[in-house]
């Protein structure tokens, strides 16, 4: 098989798996699991084969004309360069892990067949985005992901939170997609083609008439999809979905798509200094804000969700300083350790019977109950905190190194302000990231109190997946020496200055959170709180559904908890209250968009009910009244009728005579 054929099969197999799963799910339940797992495994293997054959050499391009449109044609195009093939490997591996994990996590779920099919469709759409060489075809995958995320986040639609979250995810991402679509049209109109290669050539030759406008329009879609400020609010709420879906959305698909698209179209962005500065500021605000919010969350999955937003902020920061190698490198390592963190969090929620960190801090012996999740998550959290020698350290150093490079004005065409912004925000976020990673670990695994309920050993499918993802989370950083061959860029190895600064910040964060935790332990022990759902024999998803549905009743809010023993409360001080609600952005959006929309809906309802329907009712009742008047003549007496008839004919006759004689 040629590389092209293999590459076509990679997105096609999960798509066929999804179609077959949706068609046969009800009638042949025995085929559901193989149909879910095998296409994902095959896609992952084929993606590895494609990556091997491409080998970081010259980009492979293949295209066939999909449809002539009369102006700019649409091509079914493949573009396989080092970025595409490696991102596809990540998507394939994570999707396989998620599918395997789901077989155990959602066992006995009556909706598992449609769930597995949608995960396959999601994977297929992301692979399409990764491989596509045509912006229109890319947009198809982009939108399919949007609708899949809507269905998957709303998988537990019995709970109010899940319904609201899926709707929010859909609306917010679509809100960004409209400018994105216009941006694609603007690019295509300037470049005369939807092919990414053509657009990049036009951008390099200065063929784009309005690079700033194009870049900002695209940025809106990217901010929605990749959950960047100010369109990030859907991501924490999307935690109401099943844990494997969170892992898939956060690690490999959906949020990675936005960063990947900017990486592909980077010359369009570097053509405009203003766009780069906007990107840098967006990344900085996202990073710092999300890290502060993560420090105040009580739901373990919401901590991870805000950490995803922050890590995506690092990637956009790397793109803002014009270094896509560092961005995609961080995308790869983050995909590995974030998938591991989410899948591990699913195990913790099952074992602890709650998603609340406050409740876990009052439960003892959790680490002994789930040793596999404990060890793998410890490493993944160290990688998240960028402690050497774990994978996150190397990729974050690559980002910070690129920012420092740009800040010193050594990168051509990149404004130094963008570099400084990203560097300062990156270092501050490194400190905060280490703090919330440490807080999560201390509260989840170092709790004291009554022992957690015994849920038995987790299934092999779950533990095996954790250990599979453990390998890249531990060692993917070594790729820093190998990746420049693939990406054709400069070296990604850590530089001394940023390494010392970054690691110093991270260690400072860890020390601070540890001190805060030691001080607040006494309070934690003194104030009992927390509600735990124990279902020793049920599938893991049952505990999760219950805990999502009850978090608001038990702790007063979907995000935070009134826990005086929380080390995050001690560290943040008066900021904690605002950080727990994500700095009140939801309230602002509610005032800006939700309430005006509701008011407009009420106005439309009033106009329809009271104004339009009045005319309709009038049109009906006027003939009714006339009819009632005429009905009075119906006396039932034949002679009256005949008399009226006679009188009428006489009148007519007289009239006829008068007209005939011309009187």
């Amino acid at each position: 098989m040629t590389t092209t054929t293999t590459a076509v099969l990679v997105p096609l197999l999960p798509f066929l798996g999804a179609v077959a799963g949706l068609l046969t799910g009800r009638r042949a339940p025995g085929f559901v699991r193989p149909l879910a797992v095998l296409p994902a495994v095959a896609a992952a293997v084929l993606a590895v084969v494609v990556a091997w054959q491409q080998g970081g050499g010259k980009a492979v391009d293949a295209a066939t004309r999909l449809t002539p449109t009369g102006s700019v044609p649409i091509d079914l195009a493949l573009h396989l360069d080092g970025f595409a093939v490696l991102a596809a490997v990540l998507v394939g591996v994570v999707a396989t892990c998620v599918q395997l994990y789901s077989t155990a996590y959602l066992r006995n779920d009556p909706r598992y067949p449609s769930y597995a099919a949608l995960v396959s469709l999601f994977t297929s759409a992301m692979l399409l985005v990764v491989y596509s060489g045509d912006l229109m075809v890319l947009l198809v995958g982009w939108e399919v992901m949007g609708i899949c995320s809507y269905f998957l986040v709303g998988h537990y639609w019995e709970t109010k939170e899940a319904r609201a979250a899926s709707l929010k995810a859909f609306l917010v991402t679509k809100f960004g997609d409209v400018p994105f679509l216009i941006g694609i049209f603007a690019l295509a109109a300037d470049a005369g083609t939807f092919r990414i290669n053509g657009i990049l050539t036009a951008a390099a030759n200065g063929g784009l008439a309005h690079p700033t406008l194009d870049a900002l329009l695209l940025l809106a879609g990217v901010a929605g999809k990749s959950a960047q400020f100010p369109l990030h609010t859907w991501l924490p709420d999307a935690m109401a979905g099943p844990t494997p879906v969170s892992a898939l959305i956060h690690a490999a698909t959906m949020v990675a798509a936005g960063v990947y698209v900017v990486a592909r179209l980077l010359p369009v962005f570097t053509a405009s200094t203003a766009a780069l500065v906007v990107l840098a500021v967006m990344a900085a605000v996202t990073m710092v804000g999300s890290a502060l919010a993560a420090l105040a969350q009580d739901d373990i999955k919401r901590v991870l969700a805000y950490s995803t937003i922050g890590q995506l902020g690092y990637m956009t920061g790397a793109l803002a300083v014009g270094d896509r190698s560092a961005a995609v490198f961080h995308l790869l390592t983050h995909g590995a350790f974030k998938a591991l963190l989410f899948l591990g969090a699913g195990v913790i929620i099952h074992a602890a019977g709650t998603n609340s960190l406050s409740a876990m801090a009052r439960t003892g012996g959790l680490a002994r109950r789930i040793p596999d999740a404990y060890w793998t998550m410890t490493v993944a959290l160290l990688a998240l905190a960028a402690i050497p020698p774990f994978s996150g350290f190397f990729s974050k150093e690559a980002v910070l190194g690129a920012a420092e490079h740009a800040a010193r004005g050594e990168a051509s065409g990149i404004p130094g302000a963008a570099g400084w912004t990203v560097l300062a925000a990156g270092l501050l976020t490194a400190l905060l990231t280490a703090a919330y990673a440490g807080r999560l670990w201390l509260m989840a695994f170092r709790g004291t109190g009554p022992e957690a309920a015994d849920h038995g050993r987790e299934p092999v499918a779950i533990n095996a997946v954790l250990w599979v993802l453990f390998v890249p989370a531990l060692a993917l950083g070594l790729a820093a020496w190998k990746l420049p061959d693939w990406f054709g860029g400069h070296a990604l190895t850590p530089t001394l200055t940023t390494s010392v600064l970054g690691t110093g910040c991270a260690l400072l964060g860890l020390v601070a959170v540890h001190a805060a935790w030691r001080r607040s332990r006494a309070v934690t022990a003194a104030v009992p709180m927390g509600a735990v759902a124990a279902d020793p024999d049920a599938a893991p998803y049952v505990s999760e559904t219950e805990t999502i549905a009850t978090h608001e009743q038990a702790y007063g809010s979907i995000a935070g908890a009134q826990d005086p023993g929380d080390p995050g409360r001690l560290l943040l001080g008066p900021l904690h209250r605002h950080a727990a609600t994500g700095f009140h952005l939801d309230v602002v959006y509610s005032a800006l968009f939700v309430r005006p929309t509701r008011a407009a809906a009420r106005l439309a309802q009033f106009l329809d009910r009271e104004v339009v329907e009045t005319y309709v009712r009038g049109a009906a009742s006027a003939p009714g009244l006339l009819g009632a008047a005429v009905r009075r003549a119906q006396t039932g007496n034949v002679q009256t009728y005949l008399g009226a008839l006679f009188a009428g004919s006489v009148v007519l006759a007289v009239a006829a005579v008068l007209v005939a004689t011309g009187a």
Partner: protein, 121 residues
Amino acid sequence: MHLVYPAVLAALLFCVGLYGVLARRNAILVLMSVELMLNAVNLNLVAFDVWLRDTLHAGQALTLFVIAVAAAEIGIGLAIVLLVHRNRGTADIDRLRDLKETPDDRPERPEQDQQKAEAAA
């Protein structure tokens, strides 16, 4: 004979018949009045036929048709009156008011229909 005599006679006959149809209460007398009106028309037809010297005698032919139709009409009419009398014991036209519009069998308004449908559902 001048045309005015049969014409005036026919008009008088017709008026008598009209009065009977509109004013009499007994159904049989109403039917008889109808006959009077028809025959007034017949008289007109024959008179004008003669006065116009129609070679085809369309007036006389039409008279024959009217007589035949009148015979059929009176046959059916009397049969109906007979049955009505048997059923109700009267042939008084003023009392045969079953097709009268009464306030309570008016068609219902759409809202009431809707409410009924909701109640049924």
